[in-house]
């Protein structure tokens, strides 16, 4: 069942550029993709029992590193993707080693403080472009594939496939992590950390794994966005942005890192984009009302809906048959 769904969605995503002429639609899909990577990372971290309020920090680190290296050192944006991820991953590692021993709520505060430090650093130091940010970031150069010839990435239609690649790789890795024995260990740590320690599990090691993975791919997504949009401002990386990530992920639901992140982020970003066309202030009201509704009616996210419907139908059926 899952593989059928997966294949259908994958096909749909691959063929999307062929189905529309409007670059705005593709732009929105790309936005959804970036948000999905972040949301999946957030859910992965939640699996281990931690709440991170600083996802956008990794986005920012990835974006700025890649932008600066490609502009100041002439590095190819392709390498920039990897570099962005690496820098963010290292930051996640350092942060994690020091702070992941802290218990849940204080950790959330620390991730928020970290995100703010990152943002303030980027917006106050001139070498990072200050408040204005960085402009004229080089976009992806064309690559030559043997036997096929050069492929250029001038239009968003072609850049879309880069994002798809990034999304695919991050989704694969995070999904695999979640479903495997690693994910089992993650969940056991979040449910009873003391118990698993006395069974020989070293919680810090696994927390780091999740954290660094989420950080790495967040960085890659950030690097991508830098080269795609061509400009970078620190105002994109405020705490509100991190909270949006959290809300998107919560809407999708904790049942599945992959699908929850993908669904939640895509849905919310789609609505957000439409609302932005009307009035930017509607976005806050939208996110606010959504999270309230979700909290009251679907605390486990949209993915829990099928399960609940099944249960209801089952009990109704039993009543009818009795």
């Amino acid at each position: 069942m899952q593989s059928v769904l997966f294949t259908l969605i994958a096909l749909g995503l691959l063929l999307a550029p062929a189905m529309t002429d409007n670059p705005a639609h593709i732009g929105m899909l790309i936005k959804c993709g970036i948000a999905s990577v972040l949301a999946m990372g957030w859910l992965l971290i939640l699996r281990i029992g931690c709440v991170s309020l600083g996802q956008v920090a990794f986005l920012a680190i990835g974006a700025y590193s890649s932008a600066l290296f490609s502009m100041k050192m002439g590095m190819s944006p392709w390498l920039g993707l990897l570099l962005g991820g690496l820098m963010a991953g290292i930051a996640a590692f350092v942060l994690g080693v020091v702070f992941l021993r802290v218990r849940g709520f204080s950790l959330a505060i620390i991730t928020f403080a970290f995100a703010e430090i990152v943002r303030l650093t980027f917006s106050n130091l001139t070498m990072f472009g200050g408040h204005g940010g960085i402009l004229d970031i080089p976009s992806f150069p064309s690559i030559s594939i043997p036997f096929v010839g050069p492929i250029s990435f001038d239009s968003s239609f072609s850049v879309y496939y880069i994002m798809l690649l990034v999304l695919f790789v991050s989704a694969l890795v995070m999904w695999r992590m979640d479903k495997s024995a690693l994910g089992r260990t993650f969940r056991s740590i979040s449910q009873n950390e003391d118990l698993v320690q006395s069974l020989g599990v070293y919680p810090l090691k696994y927390k780091l794994m999740g954290f660094v993975t989420a950080g790495f791919f967040g960085g890659v997504a950030g690097a991508f966005s830098a080269h795609y949009y061509g400009i970078l401002t620190p105002h994109d990386y405020t705490v509100m942005a991190s909270i949006f990530v959290q809300i998107q992920a919560t809407v999708g639901g904790v049942y599945s890192v992959l699908w929850g992140g993908l669904l939640g982020a895509s849905l919310m970003v789609t609505f957000e984009t439409q609302l932005l066309k009307v009035d930017y202030r509607l976005v806050h009201i939208f996110y606010g009302s959504v999270i309230i509704l979700v909290t009251f009616f679907l605390p486990d996210g949209l993915l829990s809906l099928p399960g609940k419907v099944k249960k209801r139908l089952k009990s109704k059926l039993e009543k009818v048959l009795a």
Partner: protein, 256 residues
């Protein structure tokens, strides 16, 4: 042969002396009971031995090696595993899931193995699954292997908790109130299991308990702790008749 020694352990906590100068030697292959009125420091002692607390003074020697201050997972890896009083298992996991996690130490999967599902990792998973199902079969709840563990009757939860500790193949088991909240037949089953762990599996067991009958019936030796101080040690009969022990328990009753 002393497999585990607590040497002059003192633990101060916010000005209170939770443990004072405790000296306990555990002989290999014995079942040692630690008893004492509530709040006497027994759980603190367990926390210190298993690495969840670092004692203010003193050492813990396990199999000739000083393990004081080591992290709990390290100590577990060396063969000293403890169970917990409450929260003995992972409540939202299915029964079999609990046991799968417990086998982590027994057959640890590697990062790449798990991520790429290599043949060796898959083989490990299969073996661990078989062992877990076998344990559930022995407990008679094989058909409930996918049931959420918190929905199980309390006695079964504790048995699973014990099995989880056993799955790591430890040398010494520290059991914190293994029969708390159980009824008579459950206590009997648990006592038999503990005896079997010592007799058949040749493991050493140290347990903390309040249920005197169970302690007297199962333990080879008993240590009595009161107000963080060891006040008596010996066979169950000896300590039962020790005047200091009687006074410490009676004293509590008077105050109550």
């Amino acid at each position: 042969m002393n497999i585990l020694s607590v040497k002059k352990v003192t633990h101060r906590f916010k000005g209170l002396k939770a443990l004072s100068d405790i000296d306990i030697d555990v002989r290999e292959g014995e079942i040692l009971g630690i008893i004492g009125p509530n709040g006497a420091g027994k759980t603190t002692l367990f926390n210190v031995i298993s690495g969840f607390l670092k004692p203010t003074e003193g050492d813990i020697i396990f199999q000739g090696e000083n393990i004081t201050g080591l992290r709990p997972h390290r100590i577990a890896r060396k063969g000293l595993v403890r169970s917990f009083q409450a929260a003995t298992l992972l409540p939202l996991f299915p029964c079999v899931g609990n046991l799968l996690v417990a086998h982590h130490l027994y057959k640890e999967f590697g990062f790449f193995g798990a991520m790429f599902s290599t043949p060796s990792c898959a083989a490990r998973e299969k073996e661990v699954m078989e062992r877990s199902m076998a344990i559930l079969r022995k407990l008679g709840i094989e058909n409930y292997f996918m049931a959420t563990s918190k929905d199980l009757p309390y006695g079964y939860q504790k048995m699973i908790g014990l099995s989880m500790a056993l799955a790591t193949d430890p040398q010494v088991l520290l059991l914190d109130e293994p029969v708390a909240g159980m009824n008579a037949p459950e206590i009997r089953v648990m006592s038999e299991e503990i005896l079997r762990i010592r007799n058949e599996l040749k493991k050493t067991v140290v347990l903390v308990e309040h249920n005197m009958r169970m302690v007297m019936g199962v333990c080879d030796r008993v240590v009595v702790i009161h107000h963080g101080v060891k006040i008596a040690e010996g066979t169950p009969e000896e300590t039962q008749n020790d005047p200091q022990v009687i006074e410490s328990y009676l004293g509590i009753e008077d105050e109550g």
